[in-house]
């Protein structure tokens, strides 16, 4: 049979099929290459740090290890047998040991820096540096993507195993109100949350597919960047920025109320275990970084909105004011270190080693002053 003549419909169709096949084969090759060598949170090596969880959706996989490197940072990550980021196992609690549990999201987990440079580990060293027979152990119970509800549920699960002497909930003011709203179905035992509520619609399935593919993720980001440039007026402010909007969406107030209830629950559970609870408010990068703030405020203004730089910190502060828990806003400590080396990475919203040092210093002073047990054991610590 002779091949179809050039220019005929059949010929064009065969060419189109050939081109589609070439695109598909190369797609698979680039996907495989990116998954093997690409430095991204979508890479299997990074995703291997997590495993599914019927209640929380996912959690850190006990015993997982990886090296995570991007153009801006590189870090070794180890998850211990208890599912916390730590190079050592937690083990049984010694008589002279005091445990401080840090609950939070990726800002606590801190995959951007080596474990020894996280503010949790730095805080542990600072608490122990004052000497004395007591050994302080800070447990990094931060998990990427967790919000107040996941932290509440996670803490209930680990409280007996960890037997804490102090609990510090590190709230990221940038998105924790939004995440609290989104994760509410988990409180009723629905681990799939919003995704389940939305059902397996075509859009949901496409989104899942895009999320699973590194090639599609990058292409999606290119398209988003291009459309943002073309239609800045039509693009709404990013959801996390709603917490900073002069006139925020009603869900922000709702999210703040949910976050408050979650912290109340954590404090109640901790109290039953004999541990006080404290709250630390972590600011977003643009609250500290002027060029980042200018860029964002310009985008929000173009979209017809108004951005209050410290709006989310103030809203969380007000929402938690009714709770009888010691509270620290980390923003002033970070701002005091300006100008100076970067406190946050440019490609992520996470702390640099310098940022971790500043946060550890602020938390150390806060804990030393607000934790009665520590004051008792270190009476000379300045208040």
């Amino acid at each position: 049979m002779s091949p179809p003549a050039a220019g005929t419909g059949s010929h064009r169709l065969r060419r189109l099929a050939l081109f589609a096949a070439v695109l598909a084969v190369q797609f698979a090759l680039f996907e495989a290459a990116l998954r093997t060598w690409g430095s991204s949170e979508a890479a299997p090596s990074f995703q291997g740090l997590f495993e599914g969880d019927p209640v929380l959706g996912y959690r850190l996989r006990p015993g997982a290890r990886t090296h995570f490197a991007t153009s801006e940072f590189a870090a070794d990550i180890a998850i211990n047998g208890d599912g916390f980021r730590d190079d050592e196992e937690l083990g049984p609690k010694a008589a002279n040991e005091r445990r401080v549990v840090l609950l939070g999201d990726s800002l606590v987990l801190s995959v951007q820096v080596d474990f020894g440079r996280t503010f949790g580990e730095l805080l542990e060293r600072r608490l122990n540096a004052r000497g004395g027979p007591t050994r302080y152990r800070v447990v990094n119970a931060g998990v990427q993507g967790f919000g107040p509800i996941e932290e509440q549920l996670f803490f209930r699960r680990i409280v007996d195993r960890v037997s804490p002497d102090l609990v510090i909930v590190v709230l990221f003011v940038g998105n924790d109100a939004e995440e609290a709203v989104g994760s509410r179905p988990k409180l009723s035992g629905d681990s799939r949350g919003r995704a389940a509520a939305a059902g397996d619609s075509l859009i949901t399935r496409v989104r899942r597919l895009v999320r699973r593919s590194m090639v599609l993720q990058i292409l999606r980001l290119r398209i988003v960047a291009a459309t943002d440039r073309v239609t800045p007026r039509m693009a709404p402010p990013e959801p996390p920025l709603q917490s900073y909007a002069a006139a925020p969406a009603p869900r922000i107030a709702e999210g703040l109320a949910i976050a408050r209830r979650s912290i109340e629950d954590i404090a109640a559970v901790a109290s039953r275990a004999g541990a006080p609870t404290m709250v630390a408010l972590m600011p977003a990068r643009f609250q500290v970084d002027d060029p980042d703030y200018q860029r964002l405020t310009q985008a929000v203004t173009q979209a017809g909105g108004e951005l209050l730089r410290d709006g989310a910190s103030e809203r969380f502060d007000r929402a938690l004011a009714e709770l009888p828990l010691p509270r620290i806003d980390l923003l002033p400590a970070l701002r005091r270190k300006l100008p100076g080396p970067d406190l946050f990475y440019q490609t992520t919203v996470h702390l640099t080693p310098r940022g971790h040092e500043v946060v550890a210093g602020a938390l150390d002073a806060f804990v030393a002053e607000q934790w009665p047990l520590y004051r008792q054991e270190h009476p000379l610590t300045p208040r």
């Binding site: 050939l18 190369q26 290119r222 291009a226």
Partner: protein, 473 residues
């Protein structure tokens, strides 16, 4: 409005949609308005210079053609050249000469109170003044008839694909195409689309990604080992090629889509074995301009050997100065002139035939490697900010050649990743001796290259919207 901006993409889509439905004269009006809008998007104030250049040279050429006596013809030519060179000299070189004069007098102990005037460089002035000058000279030489159509001439000067960074076109190439109705063939659509895609690949995948590597090494005040300087030089060599050849390809591609053919500006310049070949293949429109309007009028190779060498040297020094008002560009011109003279001298040596004419494969590889590194050293002079930096980097290259640092790994791997795809296509084009071989390959190979270009550009391209290097010239 740079080619690698979304602004340009929208601009071109709108202009092209209208272009395809309009008749010939209306197409020319559209091209003129679009080109002036394109130019004004940088700084509308400089539009006046472009208009002045267009009107003066259009009038001079018309009058020149009608002039009865040689003396009057010469006068009109001088008027046109003086206007163009004064404009170019003032806007491009005023700051350079006034600063150097000030420094010279200060060195002599005379503190002169100059009127401080900071002159802004209008984008593309070096390109469009050369275009209009070549037109008037061609009319003077009776090689091109003067056009009587101001619209056609204005489009010839301002045609947006080549306006700000070339290629530097002649009236015989472009004006004739603007004057007659154009038909867009299927081959032009196919080749034009590939040239645009390949041009964007060269710019955002190759040049803009390699820029950060080159910048690491050329950052003033930093010191690097010889290996790292060499890797930074390689990075800059591919960056400047990707940047400028990418621009030229996008210009050629967009023109082809409109049924207009522009000349090829680069032809495998890093695969050549002699300085002479390099200048026949690098920025072809500039080197042929310099040959036709400077080197040959100076006497070319018609006089004694010494005169030929003098003409070569003067042409290359002025060619260097054309690239920018800085001593490093002058030094680069001196270096290129010296290379050409040295090669010319070597061509009389006994070993010349064995190395260049009847060369064995090994001799070919050796002379290619030598030429590539000589070119790279030229880029060291070109990219450096000062003579001091040239000396520092040269010293590192010659005296501190210690490999194996972490920095080397950080430079080498991205350098290989970003330059290898370019070199593969480059080698394929050179093998077939056809800069447009890709669209002519079999469907399977062609589609593989199209898809790879798409994926590499979209997945790994740097979409920061960096300007093209040659805009500053």
């Amino acid at each position: 409005m740079v080619f690698n901006s979304l602004h340009f993409v929208w601009f071109f889509l709108v202009v092209y949609a209208a272009y395809r439905v309009l008749p010939h004269r209306a197409q020319n009006w559209l091209l003129l308005i679009a080109s002036y809008y394109f130019y004004a998007s940088w700084d509308w104030r400089f539009l006046g210079l472009l208009l002045a250049s267009t009107l003066v040279d259009f009038s001079c050429a018309l009058l020149l053609e009608r002039a009865a006596t040689p003396a009057r013809r010469r006068t009109l030519l001088v008027v046109s050249l003086a206007f163009n060179l004064t404009q170019l000299g003032f806007f491009k070189y005023f700051n350079f000469f006034s600063d150097n004069l000030h420094t010279l007098f200060a060195a002599l102990g005379w503190q002169l109170d100059f009127v401080t005037l900071r002159v802004l460089l209008p984008v593309g002035i070096s390109f469009y003044t050369f275009v209009t000058m070549s037109y008037v000279i061609d009319v003077y030489r009776r090689e091109t008839p003067a056009t009587r159509n101001l619209l056609d001439f204005a489009v010839f000067v301002a045609f947006f694909p080549h306006l700000v960074a070339g290629p530097i076109l002649r009236a015989s190439t472009l004006l004739s195409q603007i004057a007659r109705p154009r038909h867009v063939s299927r081959d032009q659509l196919r080749d034009g689309a590939w040239l645009i895609a390949w041009g964007y690949f060269q710019k955002v995948f190759v040049a803009d990604n390699l820029a950060s590597l080159a910048n690491t090494v050329f950052e003033p005040g930093t010191t690097h080992t010889g290996v790292n300087v060499l890797l930074g030089l390689y990075a800059f060599a591919f960056q400047i090629y990707g940047d400028f050849a990418g621009y030229s390809n996008i210009a050629r591609g967009t023109s082809k889509l409109m049924g207009i053919e522009l000349i090829e500006n680069f032809r495998f310049p890093y695969l050549v074995r002699t300085p002479q070949e390099f200048w026949r293949n690098w920025h072809i429109s500039l080197s042929t301009w310099l040959r036709d309007y400077l080197y040959i009028p100076l006497g070319g190779s018609r006089g004694t050997e010494w005169q030929t060498r003098r003409n070569l040297f003067a042409t290359m020094v002025l060619g260097g100065l054309w690239h920018g008002a800085a001593w490093t560009f002058v030094l680069w011109g001196v270096y290129q002139g010296a290379l050409l003279i040295a090669y010319r001298a070597a061509s009389t040596a006994r070993a010349y035939r064995r190395l260049f004419v009847e060369a064995s494969p090994l001799a070919k590889v050796a002379t290619w490697a030598l030429m590539f590194h000589l070119t790279c050293y030229g880029w060291l002079i070109f990219r450096s900010r000062s003579a001091n930096q040239i000396a520092t980097l040269t010293a590192s290259l010659l005296t501190d050649f210690a490999p194996g640092s972490i920095e080397t790994e950080r430079l080498l791997i991205p350098l290989l990743l970003y330059s290898t795809p370019l070199l593969l296509v480059h080698a394929c084009e050179a093998w077939f001796d056809d800069g447009l071989i890709v669209p002519k390959l079999s469907a399977g190979v062609r589609y593989s290259l199209y898809a790879a270009t798409f994926y590499l550009t979209m997945l790994f391209g740097n979409f920061g919207g960096a300007e093209f290097i040659y805009f500053q010239f």
